[in-house]
Symmetry: C2
Subunit: 344 residues, 2 copies
DNA sequence: GCTAATCGAGAAAACGCTTTCTCGCCGGTG
DNA sequence: CACCGGCGAGAAAGCGTTTTCTCGATTAGC
């Protein structure tokens, strides 16, 4: 008797029958429309409770034209940075009754555009982290993704807020810090070549070099994970630098681990710095000097911006810029007298 | 002309008009129904391409009764364990064209049931991680959540696969390992009191104690994060144990960090072990001895099980049990001659 | 006491799609 | 030549809601 038509689930129609009213009235009651007679409303509520009726969100979404869901596209869910953004975003959105749908592109940037489009259509808005996508492609798809907020990317397309971390400034701060400690030979263990944030770091280093012509800065190829750092030990030792700026904390940790295995003392022989200040950074030995990025906050801000867009409020700020804060710990120390390159 | 009715988005009707056919035919073409004349199909495809038509997933979901989305409820997205499960789940599900919706309960177990219900209704299935929920409540809501797969919980409700890690066995393996190294005074830095997996560890320790009556095992209150471990330093030193089994890797790392600050040598003075083998475990100094749980694989398996349920295939295995693998690294070592308790 | 205004609830349309049902038209066969 | 079968496409129903529209009934005002 209670079991309903096709889907077998209890629908608004069942409640209507049970309460002896039309399903329109049930809908009114469920949505707190007060043009309903209190007696009837009570009857409907009783029927709904008894049947444990819960409105079908898909039906609601279709009628309302909104899903109360937002999407986030990330290149790699294994990366602590994106985990943190997701966390901040999810928390903030949940507070406003929104859920988040995740779309992991697994670093294949060719899929990002399609993935973003698909995710967007299921949601009321989208947060896009696509560090490897070309500017051209980004600009092309951005308008169709609106409401959209970008993380660590900017685009010429109008009305798209961007939340960017000033990686260039951060890397300069770190380099300055190392110079103050007496280092004159630095090396930058770069991130993925096509990474946008890596580009910003490189720009920052150019500025730094211009301001410090006497400091030697070697560029080393790298990546964004532990293993990259670990494998870079040889290259690092070979270049003779005493202050290493790793692309991020993960790389720095891998590098420190490799140096440790080689018996190289950090920071006695070589100073190592990271970037991001992931939760684990202060628990490494030695604790990692890094540039702290308020990344969870970034996720929260992303929601604020997105919410404004969804509600069509005039977004007061079209985006914001986050300054990393230098976090000096014990993986960086005074430079020793000039070292000679260690081979093999 | 192209702009459509209410939503302003391009719908199936626009394509139909443009191609000069009925919207039913457009639908047939889009879904690869081959009872359509090739000429007409081509015309429809051309129109769809020109209009950049993309079917509205909400409409599809309503008609099809499925969303191609699954949900996952986690108690804390900041916890590496759940991040790993999410990652594995997301990856596996993506391969089959499913997306995942996340619901973070932020450790408030009273919300978990409602949250799970809401998430479930938006999705085709649910993965539930609810370590703090009572058995009674779990059993009550489980049937209404079907298709459902449980992580690290089992329930009497029928047809609900469970993926559980044998924490009891894992903790015994670790304890055995420490005993073999000569430790006779152990301490267990417990997890959250109401945590199900903590209960399993305690059971394992009971078995261990029964088998090793001569080994002293002190129970210490704890939690599940870094800070818990860090704050437990005093209690650990006070109890005089030389082998510490931390609830998980996070707690172990916090503890090691605290011991390091106190100048206590690990493993020289005290051996510390973790649990989980999170990615960072092998990069701590000293590298952490722990019990490795194939947690990403657990997420993947969760999808396999869930998929079987969604497709109504007879799930060959109603669930599975995962054996942790002891991962001996350098945070555990031979016991020193009996230590005396250190006070203050 | 009758008309007009108001309020409350049912009927129906709309949201965007899939799918069954139906029908027209074609060719083939008796 | 007429009838039947089959195929292909349009009409329409259905998925589960919300919301507008409409209408009946009740009340107030003159």
């Amino acid at each position: 008797m209670v079991r309903k038509s096709a889907t077998g689930r209890i629908g608004i129609a069942d409640v209507a029958v049970k309460a002896g009213v039309s399903h329109a009235t049930v809908s009114r009651v469920m949505n707190g429309n007060y043009t309903v007679d209190p007696d009837i409303a009570a009857r409907v509520r009783a029927a709904a409770a008894e049947l444990k009726y819960q409105p079908n969100p898909v039906g609601r979404s279709l009628a309302l034209g909104k899903t109360d869901t937002i999407g986030i596209v990330v290149p790699d869910l294994a990366n602590p940075t994106f985990q943190a953004i997701l966390r901040g975003l999810s928390r903030a959105a949940a507070q406003d009754g929104y859920r988040v749908l995740i779309a992991d592109s697994f670093e294949v940037s060719s899929e990002e555009a399609i993935l973003a489009g698909e995710a967007r259509r299921r949601c009321d808005g989208l947060v896009l982290c696509a560090p490897r996508m070309t500017d051209a492609e980004l600009e092309e798809i951005a308008p169709s993704l609106h409401p959209l907020v970008l993380i660590n990317r900017i685009t010429a397309a109008a009305g798209i807020p961007s939340l960017v971390v000033d990686y260039g400034q951060g890397v300069q701060d770190i380099a300055e810090h190392l110079v103050e400690l007496g280092h004159t030979r630095l090396a930058f263990l770069a991130g993925p070549p096509r990474s946008a944030s890596n580009g910003l770091r490189l720009q920052g280093l150019e500025s730094f070099k211009a301001a410090h012509p006497h400091v030697e800065v070697t560029m080393l190829e790298g990546g964004s994970d532990f293993d990259t750092g670990h494998e870079a030990v040889d290259a690092v030792l070979e270049c003779g630098a005493t202050g290493i700026l790793a692309f991020n904390d993960l790389v720095a940790m891998g590098l420190m681990s490799g140096l440790h295995e080689r018996g190289i003392d950090v920071p006695g022989d070589i100073s190592v710095t990271g970037f991001d200040d992931i939760p684990f950074a202060k628990y490494t030995t030695p604790a990692l000097t890094t540039a702290a990025v308020p990344i969870t906050e970034l996720g929260e801000q992303a929601w604020q911006q997105l919410r404004a867009l969804i509600r069509k409020e005039a977004s007061d700020a079209p985006g914001s810029r986050y300054q990393p804060r230098l976090e000096v710990r014990s993986s960086s120390g005074p430079a020793r007298a000039a070292r000679t390159a260690v081979h093999g």
